[in-house]
Amino acid sequence: MSTVLEVNNIQVVYQHTVQALRGLSLSIPKGSIVTMLGANGSGKTTTLKAISGLLHLENGDITSGNIQFFGKDTRGTPPHKLVRKGLFHVMEGRRVFEELSVESNLIAATYADKEYKKNERLEEVYSYFPRLEERRRQSAGYLSGGEQQMLAIGRALIAKPKVMLLDEPSLGLAPILVNEIFEAIKRINAENGVSILLVEQNAALAFSVANYGYIIEHGRVALDGTIDKLSQNTDVQEFYLGIEKHGKSRSFKDVKHYRRRKRWLS
C-alpha cells in the first residue's frame, strides 16, 4: 500500500521560543483513516497545521524534519496551493463563513478544485448532507453547530481532496449529529477514496472509524499501532476508552497517572 502523506520527525517551534512538537512522525497509507489521540496541548492541532501549511500564519515554524505529500516536500508551498493539490484541512471549530449563505460557502471552496463544475459538485455535497440543501440560502452563521460541521466537511468534499485533515469534527455536537457526521466520514473514505487524518477527543468514536492510530504526548508519538492493537492496550483502555481493569471502579487515590504514563515514553 502506498503512502500519501508522510511526516518525518518534525519539530515545531512557535514564536521562536515555544516548542510544540519534538520529533513527531506519522504516515497515512492510501485510502485509510488514521486517527491521532492525545490530551489538550499535546500537539495534535499543531501537527495538522504543520501539514497544511497554516503554521506560518500563526508564527510557527518547522525547525527540523520534513513533510512529504505524495513524495514531494511541502516546505515553502503556501496553504492555498497545497489545497489545490488535494490536501484539505477542515479546521477545528468549523470556521464557516458566517455572513455567506450555505451555498456561497460551498462556492468559495471551489477555489480548491482546478477543474470545477458547479452543479455536479454541489449535488454531491447535497447528497451527503441533504440538510444543507434545505438551508442553502441561509446565512451559515445561523446554522446549528452540527449543520456547520456538515458545511465544513461539505466544503472539503467540493474540493475533491486526496487527503482530508479533520480536526475534532465532533466538538460540541449533539450525539445524534456526531453519528451522522461520522457516517459521512466513513462514506467519504470508502466511496470517494479520500485518505483521512482524524484528530478526535472521543477515542471510542475515532476507533470506530479508523484503521490505524497514533497517541501523541508532549509533541511526540507515544504509542502507535493498528486500532485492534491499540484497543487491546491496557493504558489506552484506561486513559482513552474509560475501561477499567477487572471491571471495578477505582478511587482517584490509587491512580498515579504520571507514573503510569511515563512507561510509554521509555
Binding site: H80, F97, S104, I107, A108, D113
Partner: protein, 290 residues
C-alpha cells in the same frame, strides 16, 4: 415647502456620490481591516487621470474613462502591493499611518504634476438640467448620481453572484479559513484595492465634474469617512444608506438653515447616531449564535 422636494432630490443625488466613495472605504476595511485615509486622494488622482486623458490629450470621453479605470486599477494594485502588503501582520495603527502618509504624498504629487490651480473638467454630461415635474436638478449632479448608482449596483452584483466576489467576502470573513479553501488571500487583497480604486476614480470624475478639479478635492474623502462610520465601517449597505442620508441632510440644512451649517449639521446627527449605535447603523460586531 415647495422647495423641499427639489432640495431633497439634489441632496440625495449628491448622497449617491458620497455612497460611491463610501463603498470604497468599506470594501478595503472589510477585507483588510485598514481604514484607508488616502482614499480621498486616490479619488483626486482618478479625477486627474481623466482630466489628463480627456482635456490634455484630448481623447474622446469614453476612451478617457476606460483609460482612467485602467490606470486606477494599476494604481490600486500598486499601492496594495508596494505599501500595504509589506505591512501585513503589523498593528492596524501602523498601516493606517502608512495610508495617512500616502495621502500627503498623493496631495503633494498632484500639485507637482498638475499644479495647484483649479481646472474645469471637460464636459461629459449633457448641458441641460434635468427637469422633473418642474423641479430642476443640475445636469452634472443628476448624471453623476446615475453613474454612482450604476457603479454601486454592478459592484454589489459582482460581490453577490460571481465566484471572485464570493471569495472576496469569504476572505473578509475569515482569512485563514479562506486560505484553506484554496483562495489566494493576498491576491484577494489586491483585488479589493483594485475595486476600491476603481470606485474612487469614478467618484473622482463625478465630483470633479460637479465642482472643480484641484489637488485639495481629496478632502471630501474625509467627510465621507464620517459617512462610512455612520453606516458601520464593515457594511456596504450601511455605507450606501449613510451616503444618501448625509447628502440629504447637507442639502436640506444648507437650504433652510444656511450654507454655513451645511458641513456641521450632518456631523451632529452622526454624533447622535453613534452615541446610540456605536457600531454605526449597520456595522455588526459579529453574528452571535445563541
Amino acid at each position: 415647502m415647495e422647495f423641499l422636494l427639489e432640495v431633497s432630490l439634489v441632496g440625495l443625488a449628491i448622497g449617491g456620490v458620497y455612497a460611491l466613495i463610501a463603498v470604497g472605504y468599506s470594501l478595503v476595511y472589510r477585507t483588510t481591516r485598514v481604514v484607508n485615509f488616502a482614499h480621498g486622494n486616490m479619488m483626486m488622482f482618478g479625477a486627474y487621470f481623466f482630466f489628463t486623458f480627456a482635456a490634455l490629450l484630448e481623447l474622446h470621453w469614453s476612451i478617457s474613462i476606460i483609460l482612467t479605470l485602467l490606470c486606477a486599477a494599476f494604481f490600486g494594485a500598486g499601492i496594495e502591493r508596494l505599501l500595504i502588503r509589506p505591512m501585513l501582520g503589523r498593528p492596524a495603527i501602523s498601516i493606517v499611518m502608512v495610508t495617512v502618509g500616502l495621502a500627503s504624498i498623493l496631495h503633494g504629487g498632484a500639485q507637482m504634476i498638475w499644479s495647484a490651480e483649479d481646472f474645469f473638467m471637460p464636459q461629459i454630461f449633457p448641458d441641460a438640467p434635468l427637469v422633473f415635474d418642474g423641479m430642476y436638478i443640475p445636469s452634472n449632479t443628476a448624471y453623476g448620481f446615475l453613474v454612482a448608482v450604476s457603479a454601486i449596483i454592478i459592484l454589489v452584483l459582482v460581490f453577490r453572484f460571481t465566484r471572485s466576489g464570493i471569495a472576496m467576502r469569504a476572505t473578509a470573513g475569515d482569512q485563514i479559513a479562506a486560505s484553506t479553501m484554496g483562495i489566494n488571500v493576498p491576491s484577494m487583497f489586491s483585488l479589493t484595492w483594485i475595486y476600491a480604486s476603481l470606485t474612487s476614480a469614478l467618484a473622482g470624475i463625478v465630483v470633479g465634474s460637479i465642482t472643480t478639479l484641484n489637488p485639495s478635492m481629496g478632502i471630501i474623502g474625509l467627510s465621507v469617512l464620517a459617512v462610512v462610520i455612520l453606516g458601520g465601517l464593515d457594511s456596504i449597505f450601511g455605507a450606501i444608506l449613510a451616503g444618501l442620508i448625509v447628502g440629504w441632510i447637507e442639502a436640506v440644512t444648507g437650504f433652510y438653515i444656511g450654507a454655513a451649517f451645511k458641513d456641521v449639521v450632518p456631523f451632529i446627527v452622526l454624533l447622535g447616531i453613534l452615541i446610540l449605535r456605536p457600531y454605526g447603523l449597520f456595522g455588526t460586531p459579529e453574528i452571535e449564535r445563541l
